[in-house]
Symmetry: C2
Subunit: 577 residues, 2 copies
Amino acid sequence: MFKRYFPILSWLPHYHGRLLGADLLAGVIVTIMVIPQSLAYALLAGLPAVVGLYASILPQLLYCVFGTSRTLAVGPVAIIALMTGAALSGVTTPGTPDYLQAALILSLLSGVMLIAMGLLRLGFFSNFLSHPVISGFLTASGILIATSQLGNLLGIESSGFTLVERLISLVPNLPSLHWPTLGIGFGTLLFLVLMRRQGKKTLMRLGLRSMLADLIAKAGPVFAVVITTLLTWHLGLAEHGVAVVGSIPQGLPALSLPWDADTSLWRALLIPALLISLVGFVESVSMGQMLAAKHRQRISPNQELIGLGGANLAAGLSSGMPVTGGLSRTVINYDAGAKTPAAGAFAALGIAVVTLSMTSLLYYLPIATLAATITVSILTLVDIPMLRQTWRYSRTDFSSMAVTIAFTLVEGVEMGIIAGVILSIGLFLYRTSRPHSALVGRVPDTEHFRNVVRHEVETASHLALLRIDESLYFANARYLEDTLYNLIATRPELEHVVLICSAVNLIDASALESLDAINAHLKDSGVTLHLAEIKGPVMDQLKRSDFLDELTGRVFLSTYAAWRELGEYSHSHPLSS
Amino acid sequence: MFKRYFPILSWLPHYHGRLLGADLLAGVIVTIMVIPQSLAYALLAGLPAVVGLYASILPQLLYCVFGTSRTLAVGPVAIIALMTGAALSGVTTPGTPDYLQAALILSLLSGVMLIAMGLLRLGFFSNFLSHPVISGFLTASGILIATSQLGNLLGIESSGFTLVERLISLVPNLPSLHWPTLGIGFGTLLFLVLMRRQGKKTLMRLGLRSMLADLIAKAGPVFAVVITTLLTWHLGLAEHGVAVVGSIPQGLPALSLPWDADTSLWRALLIPALLISLVGFVESVSMGQMLAAKHRQRISPNQELIGLGGANLAAGLSSGMPVTGGLSRTVINYDAGAKTPAAGAFAALGIAVVTLSMTSLLYYLPIATLAATITVSILTLVDIPMLRQTWRYSRTDFSSMAVTIAFTLVEGVEMGIIAGVILSIGLFLYRTSRPHSALVGRVPDTEHFRNVVRHEVETASHLALLRIDESLYFANARYLEDTLYNLIATRPELEHVVLICSAVNLIDASALESLDAINAHLKDSGVTLHLAEIKGPVMDQLKRSDFLDELTGRVFLSTYAAWRELGEYSHSHPLSS
């Protein structure tokens, strides 16, 4: 019980020296690697760069205590940063103290919501974000983020949080294009793309071991930061108009609560906080599950909610921004050989040391370098083949995806995800409200029954075997009545109708009413209604109503039993289609 | 095509004398019978009594042209009047000209929405009002209406549109209880209840024929109106404080459109209009279907939307109020022998004649008489046995019902129906997100397979036959992964897993991703994944993906085929539970 809520107790008591060595090394590597992206994602959210560092310290420590994944690394991530920026600029003005305060409120709200969902075991809520919706959302967000960085890469101003707003805001500033910034930005972009695509291969050809080559290739952003910072400092580019990070306050953030914010701000951030929580949870938990599966470990989604909630509360208390388990930082941690959450704790301490003493080294770091880092890392989110694949597989799923993309690009991230979820649920309900049903016949010489239109099967004219391919519930109860009344209207010779319920997983009170009506109506028409292959749980429930007493016909265990009883006294004949 | 949109063409050309006689008699009876309820429902909505008459003329004529039911009678009904009152008092003050105008706007909006839904063939939308939600809503509305009439029956003031508001508003006025009003109100109430319960029986015992006795018993409200009006006039009770209908403008309503209303009023009434449209449609169409079934006729739900939409447009144009097919007026029409919609047209003309020339006769009609009429007619909506029955059958359905009742009573009719619909959809989604699944084995000596826990069946230890009892879609895709990973973790001797898809009616893109992941994961663990009994439409769709190429095992037509192939080479043994 205690261990369930404090997963740290499952590994810390057994911690030993060999684990310490591996975790310490991983911690150092992660510290160096995540600094550029932490700064970059804070800027992406419209916040000062140092907020990204703050959000990588205490949140990660909290996650170590409450999280269930061994190797998940928690901190600012691209999508959450984008959503944070959209939420904040909806309620305050970027660059003001209010904006910073709103970021803390957003983190706190998200933390409280995640913890509440965890305690109430509401992790299943995230299941309603379907794969096409998530995939469409990531693709559209990738495009949004890339365009948001165009201004930084070109050295001109851009603003707005939808695609159109951003592109339009760029146009009037195009003439003031800043060539040195553009050089740094696109130079870094090129370098990073090459490192990512060819780095490991080239380094291995130069004689490096696979693991080391991989590590160096992944450190591309670190090299880019070091090189462009030195270059900018040496050439005095900051004085020539290249935007740099500038002075970052040294020292750890003070712990504080934004009590003085007015309540309307809290209320305005409720929905954004909920969406950020859900998206962050889905991103984090699917990655955590993937990693756990590799080692035959398991993570607990509901405890993960508590872990991530704790991390966000910590972010809100320590001048941070909303956080979640990040793909790239987790992969770095995993590849660097992390064995337990202690590695994350060491990385957090490492970043704390940097924040305490080394922020002055980041003064000349060009914003364009960070923009290039963001751009390269998020373009992996854009998944065009998935679009094609989904189109081919299902137009329904594709339409959810397309609507999510369109709304995200045009109306922003929040409307995008809301529209996607509503549409995918609506389409599912619509689909189940018009269930597929099939008249079936016997596959000759077997006890198996299939659709008369698709297979060559035996049938009998006085007997209709109707397989209902959906649970019977309020949305399709009336549709079932229509189907049956049409059936008996078109086949006057019918004496028996058998409803095959092998695919009926539920009969709710509305459907029960309809079955009652159908039974009575068929009785008036001289047709007997039978049921077959009712599942255990459905049968248990039917027994609690009067329906089985009223039923004119019988309940058969199998379709074959019904066929033997009702079908064979007449001459059965094969029917081909 | 033309006939589809003008159902009048399907009966008017064949109209003949014998039908005319029957319809004319029915028309006269309906005219007399519906006047009291038309006046009463207008008062229930907070409108002048005459509005109820206006709403019984033109709307019924329009329905005759566009509606598909032969005997449905259209006009003001209790539930819609209650919803109208709630909607109007939310945006304007009862008794003002604005209030009247808002009623017209509500009718027009409802008319436009119904017609649009009909043309777009959106009749299926009403399916999402589940039976427990409707039943709960009717029960709660019945209670609300009864309490709303308490004030009129006692001769004191009451206000508000939720149960609590109403009861509280009564208390301070209780000392001013008006005894003559109370006498008329409760006297009428007693008379009407007796007529309803004992009237027919008593009259038959007095020697009347069954049909005539029934008709006279049903005319209870008409006698009550006549007697109490005469009494009030004769005793001069109006001068002693008994509230009466008072002077009603004589003549037909002028046709007009409320163009001068400001747009915010139109916008504020959008949601109420939608809810009124849906509830009215459901009430009307379910009654229409019931009556049509009695004569083996059929009604077209989408054309019904157009018919009811036309009726509401007509109501909005002719100083009326929202209307729909009413239970009591339809039953009167049907029992009086109506054969075609012409009966409704005659009744509409009859009411027009009354409105033109006889409204002065209604001057002394006591409001308390109308209140008693409403109270008796709506108490039939309160269906307590249904509550018990639903509780017994399904706690899920019961909870939808209970929430609908609670919200309707506490938060009003609109919130009640919205809460009910959202909850019933949410519960359905929750249920499908945690699907039932069962390991099955062979029923000895058959080709039939059932749950190993419920039946005595044959199994094999290296083979798991898993029947999934739900369509596979985004909400349960991850749940499926969990189920399978737990299965292979607990049975190390497993070599083959067969997913039996007889109940799987859909595999969406999210579930396909999960199946891909499961296939790969099982492969890593040395377990082969097979599928069986995939339905035609699902198989068609799977063929449009790469999944079948990746699948480590095979696709079997039937579970028995899989069993023969995979199960029998090891020693199979019966397993009892």
